[in-house]
């Protein structure tokens, strides 16, 4: 009887967890600056300062740049997930939740859901700013839906990786370290400039890391171009990494908490 009762409450409990961590996001100026204002500043910098010198073969550089900026915004949020998870673990919040009659995984899923919702909000703000800067897309409803799906998948992938770091870290600094390699992935890809101009070694890395196929897929969907193989490469990267990170994070969660 108890288990049936708990299943019914799972989504209500997740909702409570979501409200709690969304408050954490909105009450942290630091988070808002890093996940929304920084990517917008970067977009302004690249479009109005550097963009004139970058040859992308598209009419407007902002059109070329936007998918990469969206991924930068998601990547910037990953560090905060580990940070919040670490604090919950360290301050005994998880112990409090785990000694209550709620599903054991609800607190963790609450953080995942928060990451999805907060990223969705910041991405919409960034896209609105891009529209003001002259960004235009010919994508239809279905293409936008596909873009949203890919961005959500990318978010979950990075969030599960961040969860491993947050749950296994011994200090706050340790929890935040994961952010650095993640920050670099969009920079060494076709997000800002086409890979053709890069030296051979860097080019090889840029073309065979997950961000490039994701960026290329979103670009193709935005401007009604054939998506080709890129979408499958992008999905394969995301799903494989996400699945491994999920299994690993769950193992750490069960073991340490």
């Amino acid at each position: 009887m108890e288990t049936i009762k708990m299943k019914n409450y799972f989504f209500i409990d997740m909702g409570v967890m979501l409200i709690r961590s969304m408050r954490h996001v909105f009450r942290s100026l630091d988070t808002i600056i890093t996940v929304t204002i920084m990517p917008i500043a970067m977009m302004l910098l690249f479009v109005y300062v550097l963009g004139g010198a970058i040859k992308t073969g598209t009419d407007k550089y902002v059109n070329y740049l936007l998918p990469g900026i969206l991924l930068v915004a998601i990547a910037n949020s990953a560090g905060y997930v580990s940070y919040r998870l670490f604090l919950d673990k360290q301050r005994g919040i998880f112990e409090r939740f785990h000694s209550m009659p709620i599903a054991r995984s609800a607190p963790l899923w609450g953080h995942m859901l928060t990451s999805l919702v907060s990223n969705a909000i910041s991405l919409v703000v960034i896209i609105l700013v891009a529209l003001l800067m002259g960004f235009r897309s010919s994508a239809g409803f279905l293409s936008w839906l596909a873009i949203a799906g890919i961005l959500a998948l990318f978010t979950l992938t990075l969030t599960w990786i961040a969860a491993i770091a947050g749950l296994s870290a011994k200090s706050v600094d340790g929890a935040g370290v994961i952010a650095y390699p993640i920050h670099f992935l969009p920079l060494i890809s076709s997000a800002f400039v086409p890979t053709t101009s890069m030296p051979a070694g860097v080019k090889a890395f840029a073309e065979h890391q997950p961000v490039t196929p994701i960026v290329e897929t979103i670009r193709a969907l935005l401007y009604n171009q054939p998506v080709g193989n890129q979408i499958w490469v992008a999905l394969a990267w995301c799903i494989t990494i996400m699945f491994c990170a999920y299994l690993f994070a769950m193992r750490v969660y069960r073991k340490r908490l």
Binding site: E2, E95, S99
Partner: protein, 253 residues
């Protein structure tokens, strides 16, 4: 009378370290039970096993009649834990913390329950301030208030007064006495002998992985030899010396 907590032959090791060797004790319903022990004696390990946070290696543990290993969900329905460090969400206000727990306990009127508790714990004025601005005593009161939501039958308090100033300590003692007055079973760990003496109706001392003595305070006192009269040489205090010198000076005149 049915016991609220029953522990028999409890064992737990962390790798090579044999923390709990063979722990036996029982806690009666509605009592305050104090588990005494030095730092690292294994008090927190026992609390974690009783509250289903940690798996035991051996022995039998039932809480509110439910086996912790086979029926953890029922155990969690019956208990509440206030851990060693006040587990309040510092970003949220006191009120938001309480409402959150009331929602997770699936109460029908979370706001009313919250208002009552804020009043009872003297937190009404600070209710809409973030918990990060609270003093240590206020944080602990909020922490305990969060544990009372949903009226659990058994409350675990793991070193509830560690790190509090004397005033905060007396406040927490008052709360614990009130709880027991309402019929709640309180399981308390502490390293302060005075705390156990003040609050508990039964005391157990955990030492090197075993309960070495347990009983009421009166029973524990009987274990020691009766009080005897001793004569001790009284050293003069600075005040005595001062007064003596002043007196001598007067006599000289």
């Amino acid at each position: 009378m049915q016991n609220a907590i029953r522990v028999k032959g409890l064992q737990k090791s962390y790798r090579q370290l044999h923390v709990l060797k063979n722990v036996d004790f029982e806690v009666e319903k509605g009592n305050i039970f104090a588990l005494l022990g030095t730092n690292g004696a294994g008090k927190t390990t026992i609390v974690k096993i009783l509250t289903t946070l940690l798996k035991k290696d051996g022995g039998q543990v039932t809480v509110n009649g439910f086996d912790v290993a086979s029926m953890p969900a029922n155990v969690r329905q019956s208990i509440s834990l206030t851990g060693q460090f006040a587990a309040v969400d510092e970003v949220l206000t006191g009120r938001e913390n309480l409402v959150m727990i009331a929602r997770l306990r699936h109460l029908s009127q979370p706001r009313e329950v919250t208002d009552d508790l804020l009043q009872r714990f003297g937190l009404s004025d600070a209710a809409d301030r973030r918990a990060s601005t609270y003093s240590g005593g206020m944080r602990r009161r909020l922490d305990i208030a969060m544990s009372l939501i949903g009226n659990p039958q058994i409350i675990f308090l793991d070193e509830p007064t560690t790190g509090l100033d004397p005033e905060g300590r007396i406040e927490v003692w008052k709360i614990i006495k009130e709880l027991a007055g309402r019929g709640t079973t309180v399981f308390l760990t502490t390293q302060y002998l005075e705390e156990a003496e003040q609050l508990a109706s039964r005391i157990a001392i955990l030492h090197e992985g075993e309960i070495i003595v347990s009983g009421t305070l009166a029973e524990l006192k009987k274990l020691f030899p009766p009080a005897k009269v001793e004569y001790i040489e009284k050293q003069p205090t600075l005040e005595d010396i001062f007064l003596k010198i002043i007196g001598n000076k007067k006599e000289d005149k």
